[in-house]
């Protein structure tokens, strides 16, 4: 025990005196719950830590249970990677933005693709009408990927790619681009999101039903373990779960439940847990409620370490480590008084750093209005640089560790999230839970409750339901060049004319056979994209062989 029992008793007695006074005095009309509705003690004391055992609960950075951080040196060894998500318009447009960000001191690339690419349609498909290059960069074939990474040595950057149901195709293209730059695959470092479970739960981009979708994810994990040892083949993501309106505990619980799902599937495939687990990575949201967010990251690390060691019997300490990217909460930004968003993002980014993340994207102030301008994305990046190099918060590792309220919240979130995981286990695992809509409905309920709290004014958003200004100042926003649609279609037409169509047909046929025979699809997809088979052509095979998933439309 960290605290002497007699001392604790004395503290308890003194607390009673304080409490009496506190209760007798007038207080503001204040809501003592987190943004997720979790009660916060008005004053935390050692007693709130409930039998706190330092070594078991916290330990030291770089060792089990990693509550204080995954690396022993944390930000003293290396700062987090500042990784701004970018992608819009044509591959040329995004290539220019990448180079601009690298020039500004950004240390990793992060690629946003447009909706047709994400959903498996080429830019000339009728479903792509109006969407080409709008929410991200448009990629239909290897020719687009060659332009996207033109002049960027793939062994000198780490690249993150946010793509899921078509991730296998895009990763294949990335590997071929590396090949053409003369770089061997074992030199490549980066992450592909490729988390299909959270697609069904929250982000909602899919082609086929959950089972075959997860099969392809496992194919990619298996392939990366063998051929791209530095690559993170899946980034298990809570970000979108939170954006869809979940509470912080639900984000924590469903993300780790998804992680458990993948680990289970990989083990069933026959991959040794310690061979793939060190390559798994995570991606969390970082929202407005500072104390809750810092606690969430700490709880996540401790939970994953326990899950991997105790539930799956992983032996390699690297398998126990939850390494995570974080992004400030897009849904927390407001269209009203957009400059206020800079402040929100700064507070959220600070929480991520106190939470010990490995990489961070800070949103730009204009993202509720459009994709960010060069100026706004620079301010967002500078926010991270100011935290890293001016604020001094990186000088001490896990500086909020030991704070009574932070430790109490960390414990509580862990307990509540494990309760959810237990419930999912009882349902029969995360895929079954998704099939019956369990996480989806829990999130929709939480989102609705929060909206009602906003409408009632119980929760405040400055500039939206409080401190509203009549005359709104407008800020400049990015417009997507409407010519992108035309130029992308032209490039695709040209590629389809110039490529070896006989070879394309042969390789597409090989993917169909491999899919029907249940083989690992990655080698076949790589061969096909090398011959400029398109995202749409390969996705059509998924649709044909595995079927199409339809939204059950829970609300």
């Amino acid at each position: 025990m960290l605290f002497d029992e007699r001392k604790l008793e004395e503290i308890r007695q003194k607390k009673e005196i304080w409490e009496k006074e506190y209760k007798s005095l007038p207080k503001r009309d204040i809501d003592l719950t987190t943004i997720s509705g979790m009660d916060i003690p008005p004053l935390a004391i050692p007693e709130d830590l409930d039998g706190f055992d330092y070594l078991r609960a916290l330990g030291f950075p770089g060792s089990f249970p990693f509550t204080r951080g995954v690396y022993s040196t944390m930000y003293h060894g290396r700062l987090w990677t500042m990784r701004q998500f970018a992608g819009f318009g044509s591959p040329e447009d995004t290539n220019r933005r990448f180079k601009f960000l690298l020039d500004q001191g950004q240390t990793g690339l992060s690629t946003a693709f447009d909706m047709p690419t994400l959903m498996g349609y080429d830019c000339d498909h009728t479903r792509a009408r109006g969407e080409v290059g709008k929410e991200g960069v448009s990629v239909s074939s290897l020719a687009d990927m060659e332009v996207l990474f033109d002049g960027i040595r793939l062994d000198e950057v780490t690249t993150s790619m946010t793509i899921n149901c078509t991730a296998s195709i895009i990763l294949a293209m990335y590997l071929v681009v590396a090949e053409k730059q003369g770089i061997s695959w074992d030199k490549l470092d980066g992450t592909i999101q490729n988390d299909m479970l959270k697609e069904f739960i929250a982000q909602r981009e899919w082609i086929c039903p959950p089972r075959p979708s997860v099969k392809i994810v496992v194919d990619m994990i298996e392939f990366c373990v063998k051929h791209i040892p530095k690559w993170h083949p899946v980034s298990i993501s809570g970000y979108h779960i939170r954006e869809a309106g979940s509470t912080a505990v639900q984000e924590l619980a469903f993300t780790l439940a998804d992680g458990i799902g993948y680990v289970q599937e990989c083990i069933e495939r026959g991959i040794n847990v310690d061979d793939f687990a060190p390559q798994l990575s995570f991606f969390f949201n970082v929202h407005n409620d500072f104390l809750e967010e810092v606690s969430k990251f700490r709880a996540a690390r401790r939970m994953w370490a326990k899950i991997m060691r105790d539930r799956f019997g992983a032996k390699n300490p690297k398998s126990w480590m939850l390494r995570t990217h974080a992004q400030t909460a897009g849904a927390s930004l407001t269209a009203q008084q957009p400059l206020n968003n800079i402040v929100r993002v700064a507070i959220q980014a600070l929480a991520a750093v106190f939470g010990g993340v490995q990489s961070l994207h800070t949103n730009s102030m204009d993202e509720t209005l459009a994709l960010p301008t060069e100026e706004s994305v620079t301010v967002a990046l500078r926010t991270q640089q100011i935290i890293a190099e001016e604020s001094g918060v990186v000088n001490s590792i896990d500086p909020l560790g030991g704070s009574y309220v932070i430790e109490a919240l960390t414990n509580r979130m862990e307990k509540e999230a494990f309760d959810y995981i237990k419930k999912i286990d009882e349902i029969g695992g995360i895929i079954k839970a998704i099939d019956i809509g369990f996480p989806q409905k829990e999130i929709a309920d939480a989102a609705y409750i929060y909206q009602k709290e906003l409408d009632r004014g119980k929760k405040v958003i400055v500039g939206v339901n409080k401190y509203v200004t009549e005359k709104e100042r407008t800020i400049p926003t990015l417009r997507i060049n409407e010519e992108v649609d035309k130029s992308q279609k032209e490039r695709l037409r040209e590629i389809k004319r110039r490529r070896n169509n006989e070879a394309v047909r042969r390789h597409l046929g090989a993917i169909v056979r491999a899919a029907r025979e249940g083989k690992n699809l990655m080698p076949f997809i790589i061969d096909a994209v090398r011959e400029y088979a398109t995202v749409g052509e390969i996705s059509d095979i998924f649709r044909e062989v595995y079927g199409i998933y339809r939204d059950p439309g829970y609300f």
Binding site: E131, Q203, R204, T368, A447, V464, T474, F555
Partner: protein
Amino acid sequence: MADQRRVRILIGKAGLDGHDRGAKIVARALRDAGFEVIYTGLHHTPEMIVETAIQEDVDAIGLSILSGAHNYLFPEIIKLLKEKGVDDIVVFGGGIIPKDDIPGLLEKGIKSIFEPGTSTAEIINWVKENVSPRNP
């Protein structure tokens, strides 16, 4: 006087993006306010939305678009409603829609665009005032 039938509203997600938090909250708020609500689910084409609107005999369509494709999808739906002779169905919408684009969309026949931060009460009141049963 016979009971007027309840106002029926289709909440639609056109296009490929999966941002359905807003659509689902609005659907639920309208249902809780006493309207009959049908929600399409995700990834519908303009053709599918208009088809559903006719089949379900709705009085209004509320569209949620956050993919940047609003300048294509909204007018396309208005055009299809006209072609099918059901342009008395009131169309409103919301999502990530830049202020500069709103006047053009209103001109094309969208009755109202709700910007981010709109309360559900505001949408409910607007529907009460602007939508009534087409075939009472």
